[in-house]
Amino acid sequence: MSTLDVTAIKADFPILSTTVRGGHRLVYLDSGATSQKPTVVLDAERNYYEQHNAAVHRGAHALAELATEDFEAARVTIAGFVGARAKDLVFTKNATESLNLVSYAFSNATALNNRGAGLIDPRFVLNPGDSIVITEMEHHANLIPWQEVCRKTGATLRWIPLTDEGRLDLTHLEDLIDHTTKVVSVVHQSNILGTINPVKMLMDRAHAVGAIGIIDGCQSVPHMPVDVHHLGADLVAWSGHKMLGPTGIGCLWGTEEILEAMPPFITGGSMIQMVEMEKSTFAPPPQKFEAGTPVVAQAVALAAGARYLEKIGMSAVADHEFELAEYTVDALNALVGVRIIGPANAHERGSAVSFVVDGLHPHDVGQVLDSRGVAVRVGHHCAWPTCRRFAVPSTTRISPYIYNDTSDIDEAIDGIVAAQEFFGVK
């Protein structure tokens, strides 16, 4: 039995009491893509603009002080949410930028090194023969940046393959992550398969060969208790909009040592120490990585979201999601002509569940669900190679969150059956 009072939680999200498609109650099961926002988050953002808005870290006037305080207090809250210190948390615009910030540390360091431009940390310099290891279940955000780094440096991209049930196939791990490996970057919880990966072990393996270990926490930080220090990674990236926060904010946590060592990514104002026309020096992290006017209102709002989640308790959230995962998996398993893509049980998996329906294209399944007010995602979920691995062009995905209960899953299941009937495949 879930310990979450889902009815009370739902009431905190104005959009969940709207109707869609001619009067249908909105059943929002697309939180893997983006979560909805509770009133406290919207209020926090608005209050910031109505009371404290000013340029941060720059002005000496009253508003500038208040805005700076708000922004840095938000950093403390959001860092605390993952057990980190504020000074080790960098704000970006989304997880994609966070991961690019990291990948560009490698291509920038390599370019600077090749031109002999200053003292470059050799851990970030890539040469042909070096390897970067990811998995076959990465979101494009943790795949394409590394493809690009490889194109620019001559390094080789490797990936850990998947088993038929959607888990990492670790058989040849020691060969995949070897002495040539300089980066190991893996998703904590797959957004398409739902699989939770043994990241600690992978990070340990990365460190054993001297590689830098990175975790894409987009689907874990919002859904389970995460303490960055327990993950064993050097860097962890995630997004605000999937954890009740606004669009336009992402996070990157790193160890102090790694953030110090990494060259900057986006450069400009507020990330400098000293500027002359000829050359500049840079501020210490996190400022070094936050050029330009930062995402101030977004940070303030995301902090309100983090506090909302903390009040519920992330263990309670994880328990709730486990129950929903179990319920969803069981219900889908019970349907004739429906196949789960990813672990078909609730063990070490999140509540996002992908599936295909025999004889039906996911777009058509999604359309029928939508006509009943049920919002799910169809497509390759920005994990196209994972779809290829399972020989499907795309999937339909149910991804619930704290404001969903089993009645919402029931609506989705009913919709799938209705789709089968409508298209006559049952």
Binding site: R21, Q367, S371, H380, W384, P393
Partner: protein, 151 residues
């Protein structure tokens, strides 16, 4: 929402019984298009018979809308002149961008008129247009059309 207005019987029929599916032997032009959001794929090919009539081949996989649209395309374009083909293609594009308004010409569009309802679903418009975009590229490749014409 009215599922029937989207999935007209004609569409479902073309989906379940696609007309003229299959690739050509030696196409003058061939274009492969994908819908990057869902991975749907289509290849459209063109040849021209001595009288100037178009010969269309295609293959693909995807949702009911994209596949039915390709089947309708073959039915409408096959055997027509390039001029007529352009007229039909442009009428189809116009209808798909009219968001359900507008007044599609049934004489020109034939079965394709069934897609008028799809235009009300922005996310599905791309599906319906996939093969028509590929057709244009295949015709350009075949030298039957010059780049940028119409679109």
């Amino acid at each position: 929402m009215d599922l029937e207005s989207l999935y007209q019987d004609i569409i479902l029929d073309h989906y379940k019984h696609p007309r003229g599916k299959g690739l050509l032997d030696r196409p003058m032009g061939s274009a492969f298009h994908v819908n990057p959001t869902c991975g749907d794929e289509i290849t459209v090919q063109v040849n021209q018979d001595p009288q100037g009539g178009l010969i269309i081949g295609y293959d693909g996989q995807g949702c009911s809308i994209s596949q039915a649209s390709a089947s309708v395309l073959v039915e409408l374009i096959h055997g027509e002149t390039i001029e007529k083909s352009e007229e039909i293609r442009k009428a189809f594009l116009e209808m798909m961008h009219a968001q359900g308004a507008g007044d599609p010409n049934e004489d020109i569009l034939g079965d394709a008129i069934a897609f008028a309802g799809v235009a009300k679903f922005p996310a599905r418009v791309k599906c319906a247009l996939l093969s028509w975009m590929a057709l244009q590229d295949a015709e350009i490749q075949a030298g039957l059309l010059t780049t940028g014409e119409g679109a």
